[in-house]
Symmetry: C2
Subunit: 312 residues, 2 copies
Amino acid sequence: MDVPPVRPAALRAGDLVMLVSPSGPTRPERVARGVELLESWGLRVALAPDVYARHGFLAGTDAQRLADLNGALRDPGVRAVVCTRGGYGVQRIVDGLDLAAVRADPKIVVGFSDITALQLALWRGTRLATVHGPGAAWLDERTGPASAESLRAALFTAKPVVVARDPAAETAGVTVGGTAAGTLLGGNLCLLSASLGTPDFPDLTGAVLLLEEVQEPPYKIDRMLTHLRRAGVLRGLAGVAVGQFTGCADEWAVSIVDVLGERLGDLGVPVLGGLPIGHGMGQRTVPVGVPAILDAVTGTLTAEAAVHDTEV
Amino acid sequence: MDVPPVRPAALRAGDLVMLVSPSGPTRPERVARGVELLESWGLRVALAPDVYARHGFLAGTDAQRLADLNGALRDPGVRAVVCTRGGYGVQRIVDGLDLAAVRADPKIVVGFSDITALQLALWRGTRLATVHGPGAAWLDERTGPASAESLRAALFTAKPVVVARDPAAETAGVTVGGTAAGTLLGGNLCLLSASLGTPDFPDLTGAVLLLEEVQEPPYKIDRMLTHLRRAGVLRGLAGVAVGQFTGCADEWAVSIVDVLGERLGDLGVPVLGGLPIGHGMGQRTVPVGVPAILDAVTGTLTAEAAVHDTEV
């Protein structure tokens, strides 16, 4: 955790970004708004050859998706790799990532949800700081102007990213006061659980763990957190940043807040709930793999940028 | 894997069995038929004090469930611990199991689904052979006379258990020919995935891995199998026994057979599909933690008994 992260250069108008689909399939109409936004910031947008491929629940065969991903990571003209969406499938190909290409020419990698597994693999292999934010399959009704500005700032500026707790958010109540400093790591809880026992699960000693989830019932959230606890990986944690747990329905009259409070509240570290990070309304972008400060008293998560200034 | 399993004594008429609920909650009317069956075999049935307790999605608090489980395991009068059902929750308490009591007086432990995690913990801590079979929450429409006789035989006799493939079963088509011999280990795929990275995940070197699942979509089955593959735990496997994958719906026009065939078919070991073991119709009981022979040519799984003859 003491090794500084590898930071790609911040984007500038005119830069080329490439859309890839390393997980689930998408369609042109679903990414149209995302492309429009990226272009509105002066970026040029290229599509990976098989970005719209389909192979069951995957965006093409493993060979297609890996070729697209490595093609984008190797292309010296590409400055950011923007995943269209999550879904499922990147774990099937991450062991074939061209890590040497990433080390030789670090690029911004944007995505979340299933893309957490890609970000964990890149962190393990290269210590690349990445960007936990909306994919190109942009939904204005969920990710409005503030979400767009949050993504833009994370891509174009080396300023720290500050995300404030929404006191009205469902998970706001799981907060345990205190402050913590450490590398911000994590993302989607399912993908963290499904990485335990693999080399990609990060060392969380001294880290601030980011957690978000979508459409998992409370008992499965409990199972995943119990999995992390029983594997011993939460022992040296500095703090927990709790994002959105969207559509995590309440079949058993046990709320997601009950489960998060019970499984995280006794870890002896600060927990900041109610962060607008995840699959819910108003999703904010946050860098991962960077030093961060969790302030569960004032209710802010402050993370260093994933990018470095191109002027420096 | 070379250490022989610890086998409890086979049941005899007049023996006392205790019903416990270490995972999800149940009700008296749901176990009435199971109690009737057990009593019809001449057994006396006792209820753990909190067998009908409720605490959200759990059958009582962790303290209640652990006290019931350890109470049953410690009671010298009890010869079998029969779990009422799975659900979720046993992982929350398995680290508190009284393993010394199990070693001092090994008892039959029956259950499946979430109970896989209990059976893995007992295997890790004591090498206890256990019984993968229906809980006391018995459903005649799903588990008819042949299921009842299969459970009875596994509890009362030390004869090997033979389970034959149903050629009409959904997963019959994933078979890869060949024969394998090894310790039969496993059960519910979710619980195996959720045990990776914990000390309870068994060494599968030379083992025959039993897999079954319920109500998980194909992409999640793929994720769990990919998790096992990426964790490296399937490398020394002798074979795979594929049970029922019940209600694993087909949202993406990818069948569960496609996923199982693709993720298991290239392991280089025999795979026997179509076994009536799991959450589906006609569930058969099979011992786990015992030497077994998987014959993917004739279509049978033969396992040594989990129990030893009381006459010997």
